[in-house]
Amino acid sequence: MKTDHAIDACNVSKIYGAGARAVTALGDVSIGIKQGEFFTLLGPSGCGKTTLLRCIAGFETPTSGTILLFGRDITHTPPNQRPVNTVFQSYALFPHLSVAQNVGFGLKMQGKPAAEVAQEVERVLALVKLEDFADRLPQQLSGGQQQRVALARALAPKPEVLLLDEPLSALDLKLRKEMQSELKRLQTETGITFIFVTHDQEEALTMSDRIGVMSAGALMQVGPPREIYDHPVNRFVADFIGETNFLVGQVDGQGLRIGSGDVIAVPLNGQTGEVTLAVRPEQINIGPAGTGVAAKIIDMTYLGTDTHYTVALGDASTLVARVQSNSGASLSVGDSVGITFDAKAVQVLAS
């Protein structure tokens, strides 16, 4: 098997229930996660990302398919025999054990001698900067500190793969930002493969080496953040990652005839018939009336660095354009303008 892969999920399906009430949580998902990478499973709630994570952890057994850990089949290995640890969304810290006992639990269960456990606990607590809290109970710590304990506890047994199930969702924005860079640092320092589950696209974009976007139990697209953002393969990915305007149109010669009747130049790869155009707000340029597609500004929102303009086209379809606030343009609601698209950046998706 490919040994540079930490995890290989091969045709993994998970179906709950049977017969007419069967629910497919995962439908034939295959994915290879490389050793040492920060991989994020991204998708809305109910898309199957957590189910896939739980299959890797061993809390769920796939209905069909196999899961390999460095080429070894672990599909039916119980969780306590997998060298894989999890950071839970709720942290799941043991309330009756001190921070040090929580962190040392995995090592103790592995049968490591007490002296070694103590030494490792000290090392890992230093790694998450909680040396001074070893004797506290979890409920005496703040949310951010509990999060670090959960991380330390999962890292202490030096797992081959670390699974993180939306671990930052309970933290406030500032703490979340801090923990994002903290996680990235820990991942680089330990060299452990991280599989991170989140529904927060920004979190995914900032932290990941690669992202797997999931929807309705299927993997939509796998790739580095930039590729996912710039070249979404379908409407779901384009819509879920960042903000996107969609324009449906008919391929007409070398361009696309959209609802307003205008024809725009787009990069076509032999598509014909009806296609969907995905345009990021920053890829729309607002110029004077008479250039490009005729439009009218119907709303604007000042956001500091940027300003969002909502424009209506001839057929009343609306688009959102993002313009740098200091670009000098003085536009106001009601103005007639002409919009042009950055032809190289827009994406043509199959409808």
Binding site: F105, G106, M109, A154
Partner: protein, 268 residues
Amino acid sequence: MARARSFDVTTLPGFAITAILAFVLLYAPIITLVFYSFNGGNSVNQWGGLSLKWYAIAAQNEAVQQAALRSLIIALWAAVIATAVATMAALGTTRRGKFKGQTFIYIVINQPLMVPEIVTAVALLIFFSSVKIATGYSGLGYLILAHSAFCVPFAYLPIKARVEGMDTSMETAAADLYATSWNTFRFITLPLLLPGIIAGAMLAFITSLDNVIITEFVKSAGQDTLPTYMLGQLRRAMTPEVNAISTALLALTVLILIIFYFVTKKRD
């Protein structure tokens, strides 16, 4: 401000009088009993001066001593056995999702709460007498077994409540951290359930301690517990000695209930 005030039971007509009546009914007899336990005279309803005489008499009465010791031995064993069974039952019925026959199992476990005690008593009498004939054993074992059985639901209910209130993510996390099923139980589940288990054990203990009907039917000759001894005494001459023993039992129960309160209050 509050236009639609929520329903308040205290505003119902006759609430105060009903409440007072209920409390009088509950506590007047007990207060009278306790009061006359300090009677210097020989009657349970004629005051003869304040005295601890009857406590001294009860304490020196060898039959009382033996009955008390027997009661404690049976109650301790019954509490231990019933709590162990109840803990397993609570884990078995709540830690595995819904399963077929769940309600049936629930009824089976709680059967002693529903079946009239006299029926169980007669059944045990008949059953144990044939066992006695077959084995020749006639020790305290029968009483311990019988008490263990009817104490199970009393131990089961608080433990089950505790298990239900306990997040399964603790056990999942333990399994994730290389703990075997046994180690998960020993280091995580059991310590977290402990307040419920202690509460269950104390309820079972009290329930065993004051049982009369089943004990009366199951006991062999000379196996009086404190309650059956008192019942025997009442058939003869009633003296404040019975009041003294009752008050002592009451004090023990109140003490256990206070501990129970603090143990269950301290959860998390």
